[in-house]
Symmetry: C2
Subunit: 414 residues, 2 copies
Amino acid sequence: MNTINIQKFDMQKIEQMILTLGAIGAHSGTGVWRTAFSAEWVAAQECIAEWSRDAGLDVRFDAAGNLWARMDGTEGGKAIVSGSHIDSQCPGGRYDGALGVLSALVAITALKDAYGSPRKPLELVSFCEEEGSRFPNAGFWGSRAVVGKINLQDCNKITDASGENIGAVMKAAGFDPGCISEAERKDIAAFIELHIEQGPILEDAELPIAVVSGITHIRQTKVTLTGDSNHAGAFPMDIRRDPMAGFAEVVTTVINHAQKLGRPAVTTVGKCISDPNGAAIIPRSVTFTIDARHPDPASATLLYKTHEKMLVEIAARRNLTLETQVQIDLPACLSDPSLVDAIDLSARAAGVKTMKMASGAGHDAQQMATICPIAMIFVRSEGGRSHTPEEFSAIEDIVAGVTVLAGTLYNLAY
Amino acid sequence: MNTINIQKFDMQKIEQMILTLGAIGAHSGTGVWRTAFSAEWVAAQECIAEWSRDAGLDVRFDAAGNLWARMDGTEGGKAIVSGSHIDSQCPGGRYDGALGVLSALVAITALKDAYGSPRKPLELVSFCEEEGSRFPNAGFWGSRAVVGKINLQDCNKITDASGENIGAVMKAAGFDPGCISEAERKDIAAFIELHIEQGPILEDAELPIAVVSGITHIRQTKVTLTGDSNHAGAFPMDIRRDPMAGFAEVVTTVINHAQKLGRPAVTTVGKCISDPNGAAIIPRSVTFTIDARHPDPASATLLYKTHEKMLVEIAARRNLTLETQVQIDLPACLSDPSLVDAIDLSARAAGVKTMKMASGAGHDAQQMATICPIAMIFVRSEGGRSHTPEEFSAIEDIVAGVTVLAGTLYNLAY
């Protein structure tokens, strides 16, 4: 096989692209705040479109808001696609998502310059609203539209914090919700996503990149425990129905359980709201989220059943009312073995050491897995940081990632 | 001794006064929303002033916003004072505070009608901003001004949620912050406060009223535990510095400790803020309050020391940064034994059964204790409810309370 020497791509050029894109919607120093369909997001998508046109690719936006840049293949057929997203958390960093889009652009451009047209069509994609940071119920919006999971009703009913619905916001940005079904693709042969790791495992292992074996099952459950709100001073401990005490027990129980299971099980309580949240009032209710993940389907199922039992037992014993609502439920997906082999082959050829790991985060690839084989490349994150302006990946690691991505795309498309 | 037959005061009249006052700033059905210096609060103070004038009392407002209504004594000297406050929680009920003001008015009016002028001056007070519901740092504003604990600087620096300082708000309501020191009183012989219990102890004991033996030590501590914010999926459990896990352990530990101590110890975590409060993000920090109370000074001191140790130990073991800030610290105060005897005497004479209890809530009486002997009468609260529109006390219990108050004031002033 041929290998692509990433040095040709010019390290400084990649760094410059990261900084230029990061300047659009720049926030909190080294961060970005680019929510879907905002002016900053539109400008960033336009920037990628412009760079893609400059590279000689055919650029189009689909009805969902995704950007596609294509190089036709001499033999036609289904496309080999790589990319990620450029919308961010509020604020997020310069790397989450954006690095996958830039890496695909750099890799495809380098392949085009070095080898001309591929046999199979080769495409870059920049998906819309992966994070759900503007529309909490529209996470993976763009990739879900591509796999046919979004309809016009969704456009009319999903709203952001200000109450605007995503359909109206799409229209204002020049996209037609009425045509959203046209975003569906059935002509994709493989999807390879490069992404920052967002965790510390590569740093601990002292490796620049990883090949992702699969993406974890993610379930987010919203839980409300309700008791009796009473005066913090005048109401004796022994007759309280205190949801804060129940909440604390749930947090300790589910976190200790994940710790006992060990890697790769994780459970997080990130969000909690006490009502009425007064220092001198026993809360009436505490509402919180349990985010629990496991990449092994059977283990995930067992984990969620165990959580249900724990919640029911604690609420009953403390005489608290329990309400639960599953808000996100993304089943685990395995990477395609032949794509994993293609990445491994490319890495070995380029002399880049890798390891296998499951992704503990959700990705557009998880949606794409429902219509085509997928695989992912992770690039080391400094300190494992993510969803913060402090995200950082060293250019040497990025170059390793782009090299392996380019070689993989070559193996698949040329 | 003479006893006052409260039936003379007209049960229906008292009920009507509660409803009329409750209509000013009415909120959430049976609740009120009357924050200090608001239009509703000014109107409610005016209503009490009007009723006091109608009763033939000399009415004045002091510079802090307190309303005083006085009947001079034939022998002069220091005054016997009764009252409470009419500002409310957001929203609160019709009874917390307001009942103490109305009871003082009804009792003094009845004494005047039955016996004419007292030997000692007899006064009603309606204190300003007891709750601190508008200005969180100005709780007990009026009573603190009376005992000389407020100065002009406080007026300029204490702000409400909208950023307005209390001095400006006072001026707009017609009070002069520059004269706040004139609110100080050194001519008060005794302060008797009637208040709803705000807890379920009288209801459990099936008694209409209680004589308060003392007011609990109240300490509210703001605590922040800080760890590392990281991705909920990509960051393994075993290397997290998760402040939510530490927070949960603290909540369980302090609440279990108070339960083990038993009545009258109480500890409440009512307020908590997770930052950044995202479902898929390990929090960077959790900030919360610990409200811990004990009426026995030595037990209170031990309780607070134990909490400090628990916090330091948990934070250190979990490698979390700990910040604590005592926000409220009101030492316990005992009721004056001779005033307690006077109330007991009045209750026995009226045939009203009582019990002794410590107040788990803070009251203006706690401030007044620094300048004069104090005591309190508690009236049974239905379901122990308080700080909610659902507060309710039966008119029979209220009449028992006013009867005993009137008899006590008679014992002290006539």
